[in-house]
Subunit: 423 residues, 2 copies
């Protein structure tokens, strides 16, 4: 366990109770001021700490890397330095922020420039994403979908319990939290229509997901074992995989979802490191039937991360429509990565691997409107008297996630996205 | 029509009859000598012409761009300059190579450095590929697959005639011609097995495809019309979408092909520009039923490009197993791009959009072993007495493509890939 995780640590930066970003978290992101260039930062309380300025001030002198990694518009070069370096940076930042360390605390000139209010900077997508894969790893979600659209008695398809089903998604349209997306247009066909028609999506949905960011590449032909997968995972973020259910229904047989998904997906701006999440590991659900040897694993591979989804109306009226948890995942991240690479597929730094919709066992923990409203049959009642079967124009969907233990809350910030009317 | 396409042009560079690279072609690629750094080149006959050295010698002085675009390990920066510049470069190279132009011809010092034998340089992947999509746009191929695995009377799925079906592929594992790939391992399940088993793929196949390279990006939310699609297409190359049929069968429902495809795909090294292909445009197959308005198009949008596939045994015994043609495509590139972006999905410079297997109407024009051997029922007899249902270890698959008209042959070179035994 990293010393940066010690629950007893306190910072000289004022961190409000309930903040996602205590000194034990220190997630990495890319920020931009209204006048400056993008650069790397760590979140602490309501602030971002500019890593480039700290580096220029010599505060990372004991750690060997080029300071330019902090002066780019993505974290890829920093992440590619590898865990010995990136963990050392996180631990050094922790040391610098500890309440009784005067090095940075008493350097008022540097603090004035390097410690900026989050509310006064813009957060960018933290990584350039070379490849994006979306899994389908929540048993509850796959069961709900199978129950609705196929046979409740055989809700899971034959392969589902044997491998973490996944597909390649679109990297170009992944955007950072706060980016509005226009409702997509496309082909749909109702069951009673002979031919498809064209128009704006009518069944626009969110999918509550988490995604992990690859920190260590492999070469084509090589595989990653479940035991080594952790070395390749830099950290996690929240992910909203916007989905056009009616477009998907018409297009997805036989090659999978395409235009129903690639009009936009939203990532939260802070990557919480795997190391910061270490205290929140939990046992995985029992896997029955037994998986093939390359998918077996030892130890705790799931994470107890509370997840919430709010729908916010155009007038700002909010309702929490889901309380889920990342711990429900049937297939864990190590299994996903082992499966993805068992055929020799190479992975690259910055790759995003999303979990698929994270649904829990009860209706209040379902991770999509498709499930929450049960395909529109049980609309959600909003506090303003309106109802939601799916997402309406100018609604905003806000996802949050956090772990909590020993009085320490390690949070992910927000993954927020608004739907604008179709163009 | 570009003046560089004039069939009457002759070059002072010796171009052998039947060469893929006469002065009317001038495709772009990235090459590397054994001692030098990667850089951009044009192919002429058996030679590559180093564009960086020409630029440093001032031979592009009339065209406004940074010479550094030729000194990179991909063509992305060059392509991103836009067609007014890239076409001007192609036409300027044509002028420089014309038989009666002494500018370059008589500069023996420069020629000695800049005109190198293709056999003495290494070709690299010509573009960094931010996003890769594979379509499924040959009616003959989709019909063959549907006939084999579903119902011969309803071989095409309901959506197939209404939209160009496609899915996202894996960008990281696209390699240049000449790159050997290990036979992938993975899960498969025979119909008479209760549970899947793990091992090397038994039904390894090629897919004869072409891919177009995007030359002009769009912003998220915008669409490209069929009329404007040509502006966004820089050029084309040959593409072998290696496929593990047995892995695909078990994994692909419901989210599409994944590990069956992402262990490697092979691209030819030369991008033939859309402008060089202009003389070879032909009418598209009639589309019935009528397509939705956003998929309608005017003019000739297909290309008459002869395609061939050879299987070469480990001992070097070769057999041509397919003669197909790019003109068979039911959905053309402009429709593919219009469909891909109709929901606002953004495209990026260097994106590859592959056609899907290109099969013609007769068995000798089928574009995969799945179809040629009809799922193994009709093995191909090789000249050495062996037979092929699918691809064996240490076989090499070589794809070629060329247009021919008015005595001018515009070729693509080779897309060659060897299968090594599983690791």
């Amino acid at each position: 366990m990293s010393r940066a995780n010690d629950p007893k640590l306190k910072s000289w930066v004022d961190v409000k109770p309930g903040s996602d970003f205590p000194i034990q978290n220190l997630p990495f992101g890319i920020f931009k001021t209204s006048t400056g260039k993008p650069g790397a930062a760590v979140a602490i309380g309501d602030f971002v700490l500019d890593l480039s300025l700290l580096s220029k001030a010599g505060l990372f002198n004991g750690i060997k890397f080029e300071a330019s990694v902090f002066e780019q518009d993505s974290l890829n070069s920093f992440i590619a330095l590898g865990k010995p370096i990136t963990n050392a940076v996180r631990e050094r930042v922790s040391d610098l922020l500890v309440i009784d360390n005067a090095e940075l605390r008493d350097n008022k000139t540097l603090i004035a420039k390097a410690l900026l209010k989050q509310s006064e900077v813009q957060m960018l997508l933290p990584v350039h994403v070379p490849n994006y894969t979306d899994f389908y790893s929540s048993r509850e979600h796959a069961t709900n979908v199978g129950t609705m659209f196929r046979d409740p008695k055989n809700a899971l398809l034959p392969n589902w319990l044997h491998l973490p089903v996944g597909y390649h998604g679109r990297a170009s349209s992944i955007v950072v939290s706060g980016t509005a997306i226009h409702r997509p247009k496309g082909q749909t066909k109702a069951d009673d229509q002979e031919n498809p028609s064209f128009g704006p999506c009518r069944l626009l949905d969110f999918e509550l997901e988490m995604a992990f960011v690859v920190g260590k590449e492999t070469q084509l032909g090589n595989s990653v074992s479940t035991a080594n997968a952790g070395e390749h995972i830099f950290g996690l973020l929240l992910f909203n995989d916007w989905s056009a259910r009616d477009i998907q229904k018409w297009e997805y047989v036989p090659l999978g979802p395409f235009l129903a998904k690639n009009f936009g997906s939203v990532a939260s701006p802070w990557i919480v490191t795997l190391e910061a999440l270490e205290p929140f590991k939990v046992e995985s659900p029992k896997q029955e039937p037994e998986v093939l040897p390359y998918l077996k694993f030892e130890g705790k591979k799931n994470y107890n991360i509370n997840l919430e989804v709010d729908i916010v109306t155009p007038a700002g009226i909010s309702k929490t429509v889901s309380h889920s948890n990342f711990k429900y995942m049937y297939w864990n991240m190590c299994q996903q990565l082992a499966h993805h690479t068992i055929n020799g597929c190479n992975i690259q730094v910055g790759d995003l691997y999303a979990s698929g919709t994270i649904s829990g066992p009860t209706p209040d923990s379902y991770g999509s409107m498709l499930e929450i409203s049960w395909s529109g049959k049980n609309p959600v009642q909003m506090p303003d008297g309106t109802e939601r079967k799916f997402i309406l124009d100018n609604d905003t969907v806000v996802m949050k996630g956090y772990c909590e233990k020993d009085g320490i809350r390690i949070g992910f910030g927000e993954c927020s996205g608004k739907i604008l009317p179709a163009i």
